[in-house]
Symmetry: D2
Subunit: 349 residues, 4 copies
């Protein structure tokens, strides 16, 4: 009889769900008891994802709260925004632990959610229960909780790049500008003209400029750190690649801090957290250097000429920006080593 | 006997040179009398560029000033930085008109050149003769001149995106931040680890942050427009694609101008210039929409929340950012229609 | 009053239609009088294809036979299979010339069409009127006709690679194997999981092995040339690129012909046709070397060790494999120069 | 004191070497005692491969046989052809076990080697000692040996696709044609015009048609299986992607075997080997479905119309085609589970 934690994955046929499977299959403390899809129940998961042939041989289950509760201890919900709003409360009420990868429980204010997501917000009773899982920043708050709201991909790269300097009060947050770039997998497996190969190949394009729903999430966390309202200018752009996010962050330095000062500050801030790697002077991370892994790599260029600091932060959007961080949060929730089952080297080249 | 202008192209085996050929072959007023390469003289140009098979059947010539002067009226020098420094004065002294695509004659100050390019500057006598060929902005100054210095690729996209708003005094230039992205062809045909397919595919990377030699070129022109020193924060980044530049420009608005105001301002500024296309409200150009063409497309996002304006400007780096603009400048120099021989529709998809 | 040929384009919002526009805008003998789309009538074509902004400013028209007949002399139908079946007869009956880019009129046998396309065939009365427009092979049959059926993309690359050797009786057609590869634009602008960027990027995949509907088209033409039934083994595969087809053709040589013999044979066969370029010994064309152009480039490797010949034939699938060849056929139909309006150099790199 | 096997890796700065590191770091029975590079000794390996930052912190060692022998039990030589010829005998003479990833010890005949590789062959004394490590086919011969020659990437995909049918005498080997496609990493990390991003992106190209040095390797193994000389027609082609090989194999069936027959035959042949996955009827593997993993996936299309069989076989060229199979061979050599340290799920998408 297994003493492993029994987990179910709702949304197993999306990129976040299938990436959860990639890692959890090797996780020493976890057993996947059910892979769930509302749209494809009853067929083998490898029909839609042939790379899983002979590896994950389970059929997809439908969404049935009682069945899930009977089988599982914890559920990852890798569902589209608007679905978790209804589903997560039912799972919690059935006594399950939940780690939610949608955006539905990240904003404390239902009003803000509705303004940016253009959908009805979850009930405030459940919004209050959610603990925001930016692993390196809130590790201590995550131990022992039953409900974690996993951060968005852009917020993860952006916040990990800003927070140490903001907390140290080295930067003027009123000048924050974030130029963010993402691989196309960030928009999910649903088909659309934007993600059509012939349209996106050999192309670089901006979308939702200053309108992306991850903006209030970033501002909420930065506001908590700063102790006052923070507003950011935020551009989202698509890169002709599958995985990877780079947030290029611009901010005015309050003092005359050098790259070396910043490297020291950040290395110290993240010293207990293996997945943030702070690069050396004059070296900036590229997205390929974290491909397929849970790392977030950060580099700096403090410019004496302009008094501004440029911070470059990269992640793999489906790992540290989704499934990987969700498992890191599971580890923190359960009191396991932070990198358990996640210690894979980036795939290079 | 042809009454066409006889042109020679030095550097015909680089991407800039071969792109000049692509357009000039169809130019109704031009005859290519010599394609020149210091490294590959004596062999057919199609040996190194098989796409020219049966189309351009000339052998490459070596660099011989007397021969060039005997054959040609005008020379395009698509040579690496540091080569034009020596070559262009000899061509000018031989009575030839010159359009130089290198960076060697863009900066008025030899000292600034040496600080950013780390090479000896051209003699000031010749630097003074060069007219900077940002076609849409300096069209009137280009008529009838004999020596044009063609702008860099990043400066073209960036300056065309900033100048109308700066000239109208709608923006605070002290807040200018430019996040620029380029396809890999921008680094030329020379081989290096950075341009290795397996390293750059599925990758997005920053380089020369705040150190790119195009920074002083941008600041020189903006300074001329503003009537005072301008300093920009400038990041250069490589996109896994061959062609295309996007400059994403951030600046604080002095007033409460809307997107519609900006669209009107820019359309008016560029009304006599067919190659700048100003997009409508809420629509931002993508690099693929100018692929293979001489267009520069511009879009806006004025953000009332932050008081900042985001300007998105895209070009094809080897056309409007190099060979195309050089031919546009030839047209202006000769008093021909600005778009003569250049009116091709972007190749899409 | 214009003396140009007035053309309408049905299917203007597909890749074939928009590529017709790219070339026809510059064609000296043609005026585009209507761009037609059944799905998007009434909106500017540049709404869906912003690269046409300020260049093609027409609104899309709906499909109305009387209106088309009132405005146009000739119609290009760049419609999906199954649509032309009904539409083309009505256009012909209205007295219009037609060049059809769908597959609906390529097979003489309606029965064969229905077996491979799984759709009802066009009526045999109209099938009989269609002249198959493989330009270089059937140039003489195309002069003066009113209805041309434009070849498929795979058949174009494949047939141009095989026919001269087959006609010379140098190869044993019973051994013909074709391994064909295509860029993703070949599957059109419709969205699907196969053309999803994240699925197709960094991927190479086979589909419809021995089942592609272009097989009977290839076999019909080869059978005509050989004077007996010809059967080919045919694999279709998708390459992570937008444009380009390579057909790698394997066949047993009847004699001991060398690469030089084949080069001579093919250069002679195509000597009056500018768009086929036969490469020299030991040099094989790459798809990028014809990108954006109407060329078909061919290379050979006769292998004395095995007695087999490998033929490599490349085209741009949306140009020589669709819109470009359609215009070449228009030129042949009208008695104009074969390359009128088509003489563009491939875009490289 | 560690009881793990101590391994050294020569050629640690090539793609094969760095991929060995990716897997061996997680291998439960192995300790990496030295990462060796003749060109970069003395610097941290993460200087050239920043994705290893904080994970592999060793400095690169130079090539010193005595030092290697003092530290290590076994050496992986991931060196270019022509280097292992000299190096491997010295390592063997020093009492080390060797798994060689170069092509220098794959061909039994030095004469054949010299004809195809155009380099001096290794001495026959050492050629004789090498055991060819096509894991699934020669598993039993590999147990307990000290020197394994690891197969080439193209031969691995091709041979695993052909051998079961050839051994069952279901196919006529005189008709074998292999159309092989590879990602660009196959040509290594050295820079060249062919691997230049701007040249290879949006491109598909053939090279070394019928001349690739992997041809005699394939023919040697097939000849052993068939018991007579086998000759193949073999085309190598580059795909614009980083990783992945597809071998599309054409051969005439001797009988009227169906896809189901072949699926049964292959599943039986590979039933004890976890890394070969035989796909179901009408389903063909894509390269992305094995990305980053040690799997070889195979699919079939037996065509009653032509009597020919098409076999599609895919691998990740740097894993099953190089480093992964080398570790699989280590496992077989040592008597460990075949998939120890290799059981990673492909990275998708």
């Amino acid at each position: 009889m297994s003493s492993k934690l029994k987990v179910a994955i709702v949304g197993s046929t999306g990129y976040g769900g299938v990436e959860l499977i990639r890692f959890l299959v090797h996780h020493p403390q976890v057993e996947i008891v059910s892979v769930i899809s509302s749209s494809s129940a009853g067929v083998p998961i490898s029909d839609g994802f042939p790379h899983l042939t002979d590896i994950v041989v389970q059929d997809l289950d439908g969404v049935d709260i009682h069945e899930i509760a009977a089988k599982a201890d914890l559920v990852f919900t890798a569902t589209p925004s608007g679905v978790s709003t209804q589903l997560v409360p039912q799972l919690l009420d059935a006594g399950l632990k939940v780690i939610d990868l949608s955006g539905d429980f990240r904003l404390r204010s239902g009003e803000t959610y509705e303004a940016w997501y253009k959908k009805p917000a979850a009930s405030s009773e459940y919004l209050k229960q959610a603990v925001y899982g930016l692993s390196e920043v809130y590790a201590e708050k995550l131990a022992g909780v039953s409900f974690i709201s996993n951060p968005g991909c852009y917020p993860t790269a952006t916040l990990l790049g800003i927070i140490p300097a903001l907390q140290a009060d080295w930067i003027d947050h009123r000048t924050l500008i974030v130029d963010a770039k993402s691989g196309v997998s960030g928009s999910g497996r649903g088909t659309s003209l934007v993600s059509h190969y012939a349209e996106m190949n050999e192309n670089f394009k901006a979308y939702k400029v200053n309108k992306h729903q991850h903006i209030p999430e970033i501002e909420q966390v930065l506001g908590d750190i700063a102790g006052e309202d923070v507003t950011v200018t935020f551009t989202t752009q698509l890169v002709p690649m599958t995985r990877g996010i780079m947030s290029t962050i611009y901010v005015t330095l309050k003092g005359d801090h050098t790259d070396q000062d910043l490297i020291g500050l950040y290395r110290d801030y993240y010293k207990d957290h293996p997945f943030v790697r702070v690069r050396g002077e004059g070296v900036w991370p590229a997205t390929k250097e974290v491909f397929g892994s849970n790392y977030c790599d950060i580099g700096f260029a403090a410019d004496a000429r302009t008094g501004r600091l440029t911070i470059i932060s990269v992640i793999d959007n489906v790992v540290k920006g989704a499934a990987g961080q969700a498992i890191q949060n599971l580890n923190l929730m359960m009191g396991w080593e932070e990198n358990l089952g996640l210690g894979f080297i980036p795939v290079y080249p």
